[in-house]
């Protein structure tokens, strides 16, 4: 994969994620983790090779089909990417509204989930008034509210304390138990060692998977 003809970011990567699997993705900065994640959450189409998601060859998939596939993927961005003009509640509700879910269902689910991530008293707070840890929890709630088939999280515990980090990992495990395939990109070796999941290691041109895939 590359952003231009002479700027190749990923090469020689070949892997298959079983439905319902849980993986960590790690590697040094600049190794291409974010680029790999962007391919997985369909922000880019690969310039070469084959990317198959939900049994579809993405390069050959019509553009009009992509939104439906994206709604099956939950993404936690490293920089949160919350909408500053919307409240925490509306940020989380965004994916459901886009999916045309009924407003009363949205209200109930969003309130419950924000309560679960410890933001029950921040429902109407706008992101600029929240701490980084709180923003991260809103971003996670937005990613998981639609019960995605694939969850892709880029450093999801980077801005929260250890207690919240473990709670968030437990939430991901809950989702994984009901069938969501989870990929967590992280630098945090301690976090990786705390959970016994396979690790995809990306290091400037080399790609390995260790552990039970």
């Amino acid at each position: 994969m590359g952003y231009s003809a002479d700027d190749e970011v990923l090469r020689g990567i070949n892997f298959h994620l079983r439905t319902g699997s849980f993986h960590f993705l790690t590697g040094p900065s600049g190794a291409g983790k974010t680029s790999l994640l962007r391919l997985m959450y369909l922000a880019h189409r690969a310039s070469g090779g084959v990317v198959r998601i939900f049994n579809r060859d993405i390069a050959k998939t019509r553009r009009s089909v992509l939104p439906g596939l994206r709604r099956r993927i939950g993404v936690v961005f490293q920089d949160f990417r919350l909408l500053d003009h919307l409240s925490a509640r509306d940020n989380v509700a965004l994916t459901l509204r886009i999916g045309r879910v009924r407003e009363d269902t949205i209200r109930d689910h969003v309130t419950e989930l924000l309560d679960w991530v410890g933001l029950g008293d921040h429902l109407d707070a706008k992101p600029p008034t929240l701490s980084d840890g709180e923003k991260q929890r809103v971003a996670i709630a937005r990613a998981v509210i639609g019960r995605p088939n694939l969850l892709v999280a880029d450093e999801p515990t980077g801005s929260v304390d250890e207690y919240q980090g473990v709670r968030i990992m437990r939430l991901f495990e809950e989702l994984n138990r009901i069938g969501t395939t989870v990929v967590i990109a992280t630098h945090d070796r301690r976090l990786i060692s705390q959970f016994n999941y396979p690790v995809m290691e990306l290091d400037h041109g080399t790609f390995d998977i260790t552990g039970n895939n």
Binding site: R45, R71, R97, R142
Partner: protein, 294 residues
Amino acid sequence: MFRQHFDLPLGEDGSGRFVPWIVAVMVYLATLSVAAGMAVNRSVDKWDIGLEGTVTVEIAASNAAAENAGERMARALSLLRETAGVRSAIPIPDDEISRLLEPWLGQGDVPLTLPIPQLIDVRLEAGTKLDLDALGTLLANAVPGARLDDHQYWTERLSDFGRSVQITSAFIVALVALAGAGTVVFATRAGLAIHREVIELMHLVGSRDSYIAGQFQAHAMSLSLRGGVVGLALGAATLGVLRGIAAPIEGSLLPTVNITAGAWAVLAALPLLAGLIATITARVTVVRALREMP
């Protein structure tokens, strides 16, 4: 009932702030243009209806001693009154002819100094298919100097004039619509640039182009409707003022500024038309721009 939820903060940026004002000006111009077109058409119709079923017979003045004006008039009247399909044939009195000529010749004993023709006002039976050409020929043969005028030349020119005003009015409305659409394109593109990151995010979480376009088009429609209503109100006020100014000279050939209920319905549709154009333009602009995204 209808509640539009805006995920995009379109109302908070300056991109659309000028749209209502420009649309107001556009709808104002369109209102005046359409009202003028309708007023002229109504006058043309009125004049046309006034001339329908009438012809005028003109008997040219003659210096020949043998020709007695009274005899020629009597012969013409007799011929006309005996013609099937003619309801009445009444000579127009000399003082009425003088009054008709006053705007051009001034007051005075006009008939004494100028060879003024005699005129007959002829009314036809409604629904009669009278061969006016044949009647004209018959008159000309029977009465030297007699000529039948069916006003065709006048009504054709009136009709041409009415059509020209209509075309001009439609052209102005089309130009206004085009300029309005251009304004919406500009504002929408500015909005797309300002909110690029939000739009990208919405794409990544699975938003369809139509969902994002829906937000832009609802915003454009709201701005245009607001501007349109203001433009229509200003147009109505202007028409009211013009009507007040024209009132003392009513009864003349000036088009009347009275707006009928039907005409008001047409004018009231202009803000809706502006809203519709804005909606379609915004949608097309956004969908085209979003196609560039992965």
